[in-house]
């Protein structure tokens, strides 16, 4: 009677396991062609019920983003991560990645998994971009001129080493002319030494002389030209000028209602590259929150290029109309993430709340910008703190390696067990197969992910899972040696081995559980397979193996046991 119940349980577990594994077996035995033929519905069904492969096996990118909420107030901090996740999901969906995983980790981190992703740089841009759009009035020439003169005055004596600014001698312009000359010399020398780190093709650049920094004009001497309502700095000196502008002395020179902003791209100039620096109004007139839509459209002047057209909501449109109406002839900076994309001059009042952003490098950039603008700006800046990207071929190689290691490990263990324990070894091997089926079935039921370390866990489980049977067999052998009958030896063997199996498996489970708690991604996968393996192992040894012995010994009197 007891045996019958055990048989029922075993049959139920085995039946369920095989049923749970069917979709996986069908899906993963399909060829690429067959999979492509599936309808979307069929595909989703398979993907939902088949075992999930980790990124390290199917290729893709794993990113950990951290949000910088230092600029947010307490209230905004609370749900900042959730808001960011919502926007990121929106962006990623529009970007077109199948089955992305976007998860909150702790208070400030977000885990993003993008299976099968190929163009990492592009994805990183779409995800990481804050996409804060603003419209700011550009200061007029006379104002800029006044500010520059002030800068020259206040920055006298400020020296630059690389991007490090020494302001200790500032405010004492009369401090010995020779010193100033030396300072000026070191300044140029340091700027030169900065070159190789800024540009990889440094050879072409060194031919173009850089404007020297003169002691009389510590700031304006860096400027090479004036365009589009801004001043131009040689691309190679941008870090130096940036550093200068952050000094306290410079801050004193800049009017309180204005601020400097850089262009987001370099402007080609004679023989070299320049970057435009704009003086703009400190408060933005309008920002991206008024945006209702953004679409790519053809550039009316050059139909081969794409622009991003945007539409503002009613309120935004009214504000924008008034703003453009009041500033005809002046320039408006279109600012994206603190960088000026372009600064077109207002030709006429724009009443309908529609505008466009020009100057896209290529169509891809235009598409991506439209996506991020539509999805909205992130409430806080985020940055990548960890990135792991696996190419599809490495994943395939890992799968092959995993298959080989698993089958070789399996064959070795089975051969050993049968050689050492004869028919009982065959029994242990069957339990082993049963074990593997249960592990995979539980993993697919739990929607756990199979990773390369997970496969290692599986292979290791093959070795460890015979342990329960080894404990039992060794015990039975001992009892047989003491002269017990086969049936009594089996009974005693199982009884005595039970406590040992329980204790040894529970201790291993404790560490597997800790590993699962502490681990990320792949390690979790390893801990999962290991834990499930240990439990399956106890189950098969204590019920499966037992039942077979019981059946053998109950039917007839057994003289000898093949063990």
């Amino acid at each position: 009677m007891k045996t019958r119940w055990k048989l029922v349980v075993i049959a139920a577990v085995l039946g369920y396991s095989i049923w749970a594994l069917l979709p996986s077996m069908r899906y993963y035995s399909m060829s690429e062609d067959q999979r492509n033929k599936l309808t979307n519905e069929q595909r989703t069904k398979y993907v939902e019920s088949a075992i999930k492969l980790g990124l390290d096996l199917q290729g893709g990118a794993h990113l950990v983003m951290e949000i910088d909420d230092s600029n947010l107030d307490e209230n905004a901090k609370k749900d900042a991560v959730d808001r960011v996740i919502k926007i990121l999901r929106n962006r990623i969906d529009q970007f077109g990645v199948a089955e992305p995983v976007i998860q909150k980790q702790g208070q400030k981190r977000i885990i993003i998994e993008l299976p099968g992703l190929e163009d990492l740089d592009r994805a990183e841009k779409i995800i990481g971009q804050t996409a804060k759009l603003e419209f700011r009035l550009v200061r007029q020439e006379d104002e800029v001129g006044r500010c520059l003169t002030m800068l020259d005055k206040t920055l006298k004596g400020v020296t630059v080493t690389g991007t490090q600014v020494d302001t200790t001698r500032a405010g004492t312009p009369e401090a010995g002319t020779t010193d100033d000359k030396v300072a000026a010399n070191t300044k140029t020398a340091n700027v030169d030494s900065l070159l190789p780190t800024l540009k990889t093709d440094a050879a072409a650049d060194t031919e173009v002389p850089l404007p020297g920094a003169s002691p009389d004009k510590p700031f304006t001497s860096y400027l090479v030209s004036v365009v589009d309502g801004g001043v131009v700095v040689d691309e190679r000196q941008v870090p130096t000028v940036k550093a200068l502008l952050t000094t306290e002395q410079a801050q004193r020179a800049i009017p309180t209602n204005s601020q400097f902003m850089w262009a987001d791209h370099a402007t080609p100039m004679q023989d070299t590259q320049g970057r435009v620096l704009y003086l703009v109004e400190k408060t933005a007139t309008l920002d991206g929150s008024a945006l209702t839509n953004a679409q790519t459209r053809n550039d009316p002047e050059d139909p081969s290029r794409l622009n991003v057209g945007f539409t503002l909501n009613r309120q935004g449109a009214i504000k924008f109309g008034r703003f453009t109406g009041e500033n005809i002839g002046r320039r408006i900076a279109i600012v994206l993430d603190e960088q000026v994309r372009s600064a077109p001059a207002v030709q006429s009042k724009i009443p309908n709340g529609e505008g466009r952003i020009t100057g896209m490098k290529d169509d891809e950039e235009a598409n991506d910008l439209a996506i991020v603008l539509r999805a909205g700006a992130l409430p806080a800046k985020i940055s990548v703190v960890e990135l792991r990207s696996i190419g599809p071929t490495l994943g395939r190689d890992s799968i092959d390696a995993g298959k080989r290691a698993t089958s070789v490990g399996f064959v070795l263990v089975v051969l050993f067990m049968i050689w050492y324990y004869k028919m009982s070894g065959v029994l242990a091997s069957m339990a082993l197969i049963f074990n593997m089926i249960i592990i995979l079935a539980v993993m697919s039921t739990l929607r756990a992910t199979l990773t390369m370390p997970g496969i290692a866990g599986l292979v290791l489980t093959i070795g460890m899972s015979v342990d329960a049977n080894v404990l039992i067999f060794e015990r039975i052998r001992e009892e047989l040696k003491k002269g017990k009958t086969v049936r009594a030896a089996i009974q005693a063997g199982f009884d005595k081995a039970f406590a040992t199996i329980l204790d040894s498996h529970v201790t291993t489970l404790i560490t597997a559980f800790v590993l699962w708690q502490f681990g990320t991604g792949p390690i979790k996968g390893f801990a999962t397979t290991l834990s499930v393996g240990l439990i399956a192992n106890m189950f098969t040894a204590l019920t499966g193996t037992r039942v077979v012995y019981d059946i053998i010994t109950s039917r007839r009197h057994v003289e000898r046991l093949s063990i």
């Binding site: 850089w262 490495l394 050492y420 040894s504 489970l509 800790v514 708690q517």
Partner: protein
């Protein structure tokens, strides 16, 4: 077939010598770690960037090195593996190098990310005449490493506490302490091994150590279980003999289970591929240490304890 059928080795007699050997290995290992200023850590812990590329036909490592140096990473580590056309390029502790100060126009990337991009660009452009496939890119910020270090340390501590409670409950406190010492021994031997062969401490290294902690404990528990059983059966026997008998009685199981695990580890070492190899190697060392410690360290500690502080009713 039956190994160790009538095993009757005097393990207990050599216990002090065995402990000395273990202590020597561990002390040497710790000295080696000190001399090398700590263990070498993977970018998981140190932070940095890693790029793996595959070529159609191999080029000398020097060629890859000169490309990487020209890109500004003279201290990158380059290893070649696989069918000799795979190269792994690692740059550590990017944060410390100020050379990657933010280029204008790149507001989202981290210094590590920029290093990876630069490496990728330099390698794809630098190796001429053949396709360069970027197989893997990893960048880890320094903050992650610090957190991971803390988490790994806590994981080991938590699992030891869990074990201490479980074994104290199922056996006795002294069994728990002996098991913990034996397990710590295995972890330390693995760390020593990492240092001797210059292997990196990575997340998979931590996973290997924790797995061995679990495995070695199970191994020790099997021996302890027999001791507990014999303590009830042979009340008259002196502790030394009883422990020795228990080790011998479980010896065949200890060796067979270690053996089957070793078989699978060999399969992983040979066929598991590059990603898994280090893990499998660390595991192999751990299994050897774990098997050794459950025979020569764990049970003998019980005996030492008994001699130092006799349990009532025992010689």
């Amino acid at each position: 077939m039956h190994f160790f059928e009538n095993a009757n080795y005097n393990f207990v007699r050599v216990r002090r010598r065995a402990m000395l050997v273990s202590a020597a290995v561990i002390v040497a290992g710790m000295l080696s770690i000190l001399l090398h200023h700590g263990l070498k850590t993977s970018i998981d812990f140190s932070g940095g960037a890693l790029v793996e590329i595959a070529l159609e036909k191999p080029v000398p490592v020097q060629e890859v090195r000169s490309i990487v140096s020209n890109a500004g990473f003279g201290d990158a580590e380059i290893t070649r593996f696989g069918q000799e056309a795979n190269y792994l390029i690692k740059v550590r502790e990017v944060e410390a190098k100020k050379s990657e100060a933010g280029a204008p126009g790149d507001s989202t990337g981290t210094p590590e990310g920029r290093v990876a991009k630069k490496l990728k660009a330099a390698l794809t452009a630098g190796i001429s005449g053949q396709q360069v496939e970027v197989r893997r890119v990893e960048t880890v910020g320094p903050k992650i490493g610090t957190e991971l270090r803390k988490a790994a340390f806590l994981a080991v501590i938590y699992s030891l506490i869990g074990i201490l409670i479980y074994i104290s409950w199922r056996f006795q406190f002294r069994f728990a302490v002996a098991a913990i010492i034996a397990t710590a021994h295995d972890a330390l031997v693995m760390l020593a091994f990492f240092s001797f062969v210059g292997m990196e401490m990575s997340i998979s290294g931590i996973a290997a150590i924790l797995t061995i902690v679990g495995y070695s404990l199970a191994d020790t528990v099997v021996v302890f279980d027999r001791i507990r059983e014999n303590l009830g059966l042979r009340k008259r026997e002196d502790m030394g003999t009883l422990i020795n008998t228990s080790i011998n009685e479980t010896l065949s199981r200890t060796i067979i289970t270690s053996g089957t695990v070793m078989l699978t580890l060999v399969a992983l070492l040979v066929f598991g591929g590059e990603v898994i190899r280090e893990f499998a190697l660390a595991m192999t060392v751990g299994i050897i240490a774990g098997t050794y410690s459950s025979i020569f360290i764990a049970a003998p500690i019980l005996l030492e304890w008994q001699m130092w502080h006799p349990n009532k009713g025992r010689k």
